[in-house]
Symmetry: C2
């Protein structure tokens, strides 16, 4: 248990803010039930449920007695939303945390993949310039084609180089490790990435790993996309306690039951693997070319 | 294989659109590398990678020869973002699909949970009024306290009652099944929900199930939060083929490796379970009260 400090949550303050938001949502135009007796009863039930929820949290010191975790999640155009949302969902379950979605400016970043439009643009909360000086977690999601652009993006590279020495954990999921690697942050470190390109991390001086979550000193890197949930729980355990991480796992009902055993190239049907290998052949070539250029210039 | 029709993707059209977007992103202010020789080489590498990606997709009839799936995902204030993003991530991996994020209007919906602010507001793409007449998938995510409000929201109830008979699959994840149930859509159906409240589905005439993904006729309901990925793969297999669903599983590297066996109340440490049961005691009371009121009025 890394219990270095004690911060009791101000449950009353949170509760007050939440009720205010709910009340305004219920009176907003288009919210349907607003103003009727049924809506009033509904709102009373929600308030009662919410108060019980927050009171219960306040009573459990085993889950509230941790120092505040300051978490910075980098976002960028062309990232993969699940890479961000998996870890974010786990981090949001920490009771005492401050979370920043970091980018150059605060305009929404799209997350188009090849052939698909953006359905969930992500709005940064904090600019690189306004990032706290010290982070407990510096996190970079993956995503194609965004990763390729970020590997040669001067602002992103400068930000990561500046923040890494001031971050307790320097982390990524999926192809995000290529962005860390391009910033020179994985030189001599074991690191994981997306299965289709993980071996190419060697082009950036890293030692490729096919672990779901790879820990080497303070570099913690996850495998592809859905590994972000496993990754998030590992980080949560380090920030709080194994018991707390288990409570988050139950909170998210994370008892996965994939319908097939096809999540890794070794186990997927050959036709599925070959289809994706064909899709990613160009990505491998471009990643290699960019990695070599970055390293030659480093 | 439910191969009823043949729609070859217009790879060239998608590719053209993507390149145009990337070019504009690279020339936008603040994108850093814009204008330099390095940026030009980077952009050329990305374009080459993207073209190879889309060309490879176009060559694989086993993955492109499916009819278009029209998918409507309801969003609402107080939902849980991972409940939406898990299934959405799977559905976006279908090559031939049309996806709608449905709500009363197109203003962003917050997703505050008790005690946490909204970090990723979701912007609806389509209003209830503009929803296509027929859906392949009608989907409702869960989330507290949003679920409680939606169970008595006249617009939401009217929309679900109207669309359910015109939807091939009527589906949910987590507490979303309570919203379906409140609309009378689970009467006599087996259905899954979030572990902490699943048994209360009986208040709405459903037969509670603790399956990860519960299929009863065309009602397909998932367990809590992270069950959305397992759920999505089941739906994807039904819409296309088991091979296609396996390709998506590999695409998302879904080979989960939770650090603990704590994702269900039967396996979690007692202290974690009791903490969460305390948090959700008020939710159980309010859900019961609302369900009884809804059913009495039905």
């Amino acid at each position: 248990m890394q219990r270095r400090d004690f911060h009791r949550l101000s449950v009353a303050a949170i509760f007050g803010g939440l009720l205010a938001r709910q009340a305004s949502a219920h009176h907003a135009p288009g919210h349907g039930a607003g103003g009727t007796a049924a809506a009033t009863r509904n709102q009373r039930d929600i308030a009662s449920s919410t108060q019980a929820h927050l009171d219960a949290i306040g009573r459990h010191e085993a889950f509230t007695a941790f120092p505040k975790a300051t978490i910075g999640l980098v976002v960028y155009p062309g990232m993969f939303v699940q890479d961000l949302v998996g870890p974010l969902t786990v981090f949001e379950a920490l009771l005492n945390r401050e979370i920043h979605l970091l980018w150059k400016d605060r305009t929404p970043v799209d997350n188009a993949q090849p052939g698909t439009p953006t359905l969930l643009p992500v709005t940064p909360t904090t600019t690189f310039d306004a990032c706290p000086e010290r982070l407990d977690v510096l996190f970079v999601p993956g995503g194609v084609p965004g990763t390729l652009a970020m590997m040669e993006d001067p602002d992103m590279m400068a930000f990561l180089k500046r923040m890494a020495p001031n971050s307790r954990y320097v982390t990524s999921v999926c192809t995000g490790s290529f962005i860390l690697g391009a910033a020179g942050l994985l030189e001599g470190y074991r690191a994981a990435s997306y299965w289709a390109v993980a071996d190419l991390l060697s082009e950036l001086g890293a030692i490729p790993s096919d672990e779901r979550v790879c820990v080497d000193r303070n570099r913690i890197t996850g495998g592809g996309v859905t590994a972000g949930i496993d990754f998030g729980l590992k980080i949560a355990a380090d920030l709080t306690s194994p018991l707390y991480a288990q409570a988050i796992q139950l909170y998210l009902e994370y008892a996965p039951a994939p319908p097939y055993d096809a999540g890794r190239p070794e186990t997927a049907p050959a036709e599925a693997r070959e289809f994706l290998e064909g899709m990613f052949a160009g990505l491998r070539e471009s990643t290699t070319a960019i990695a070599r250029r970055v390293r030659a210039g480093a």
